[in-house]
């Protein structure tokens, strides 16, 4: 069952820069896919279009039956509630504890206290941070902060988890731990898309690899590896 369908998508920024040319892509429900490519290959643009931070100039992106490009600005939040997003720089709120950083999402959606507590602790347990609920982000290591961000992204049980260079700021061991966490989440049924240029990780995980090059789809293989000879 295809979950994401990208058909003939082109993206030209208002500056005239073309980021994506005629892209076609399908991602199945429950997939784990890496999107790789050099800087300027269009991978960031692609995932920004997935969570509707950018709109395609032409073509369409369908996620779970919703035409994302046609979504009105004031309806975007409905899409975002079904998608978890993780960033390279974690984007945690420094004045909130680990628990609050995850729980505020649910609070904003109006869940009641006991529900918030149960879901938040479940998510923090999944990323292995149940012991640190009362810590503040600046008391945590980079890997731990990223796990808080992952917990926040999955706390509302999204169908899709998008990670933009999630290990960009982390050392190799920690990066691998983060990937294991993402794999667990994927095993629980969430579709996971990871943008990265960390070749070790891609090679170790043996997942689907989508290689973009100068805005075009260059290669797309199941259980792929990051070919050293590939220019990127």
């Amino acid at each position: 069952m295809e979950f994401i369908r990208i058909s003939d998508v082109e993206k030209t920024y208002s500056s005239g820069v073309v980021a994506i040319y005629g892209l076609n892509l399908k991602i199945k429900k429950g997939d784990f896919a890496f999107i790789i490519g050099a800087s300027g290959s269009g991978k960031s643009t692609l995932i920004k279009m997935l969570y509707r931070e950018e709109k395609p100039t032409s073509g369409e992106i369908i996620i779970g039956g919703v035409n994302v490009g046609k979504l009105k600005n004031r309806k975007v939040y409905k899409l975002r509630r079904k998608i978890g997003i993780v960033f390279q720089d974690f984007k945690l709120l420094p004045k909130l504890t680990v628990y609050e950083n995850v729980a505020f999402v649910l609070e904003m959606f109006g869940y009641d206290k006991s529900e918030i507590r149960a879901k938040t602790l479940k998510a923090l347990d999944l990323v292995g941070l149940k012991e640190k609920v009362k810590s503040y982000p600046d008391q945590l290591s980079g890997g731990e902060q990223q796990r808080v961000a992952i917990a926040r992204a999955i706390v509302n049980a999204p169908k899709l988890l998008i990670c933009d260079e999630p290990t960009g700021n982390l050392d190799p061991d920690t990066s691998l731990e983060i990937m294991k966490v993402l794999e667990v989440i994927n095993d629980l049924g969430t579709t996971v898309i990871v943008v990265t240029h960390d070749r070790d990780i891609v090679n170790k995980m043996k997942k689907r690899v989508i290689l973009l090059d100068k805005g075009r789809l260059r290669k797309d293989f199941e259980k792929g590896t990051y070919d050293k000879n590939e220019k990127h």
Partner: protein
Amino acid sequence: MIKMKNIRILIRNIRDGLKNVIRNFSLSLASISCITVTLLIVAVAVVGSSNVENFTKVIRDDFTIVVYMSNSADSKIENTIKEEIEKLSNIESIEYNSKKDIAEQMKGESDIFNTIISSWSESENPLYDTYLVKVKDSEKISDVANKIEKIDSVEMVKYGEGMIESLLSIFDILEKILIIIVVSLIIVTAFLIVNTIKITIFSRQEEIEIKRLVGASNFSIKQPFVIEGLFIGLIGSIIPILVTVYGYSILYEKTGGVFFSKFIQLIKPFPFVFWVSIILAMIGIIVGMFGSSRAVRKYLKI
């Protein structure tokens, strides 16, 4: 169920709004003092213009047309005149004041009058029998006066024509100027608040961005800021309200309720200051809410 959710969200946002005022107090203080200063001036202007309007009204209510009847008119003719006047529209009351009564009143006013008037015999009294006519709508007083003047045996009609009219038009202008000052001050403050709150929000851009990314609707992002603006406005109105309540009461006491002359009467402090306080609080709240909602708007575009 959805309703319950919204109530929970609202309660949370009220809590957050209040928390943010306290947490960013140095920045909130800028907005609060901005509102305070404006509201102080607004308070003076509102008190001023209400009083101007009040004594304009007092003067208007006091408008009396004095109808002087010819000395040849006997009581029968005088009655006819009264009937004629009563037939006119816009008449509030008619009161008869005979020349004898007027003479008596004048005797009481000063010793000199007393000496002179006492020397008159009844037939020598040079004064006129008069009707004191009050009108309902003082704007149309000159119409009524003109009509009365045309009635037979009416010698002349006086209603303080020029003087009172120009006084009223001065008051009118004064009131309009005050209103313009108040309105423009409120507008200027609103924009000042927008900018002050923008600074507060600037430091919280990331918070807004994160909320947007995790799927908060624009409304739910905006709500805590708008509530914060409400509190800022409310806190900003405290000092102006105190100044109004105490300041005006003291002013009223010190002046004995009149200004310059008995002619210009001040409005009684209660419940007047109460209404002014409500107006000030409302302006503060509206300006604060408007300011925050404008300021946050910029960061909500996707």
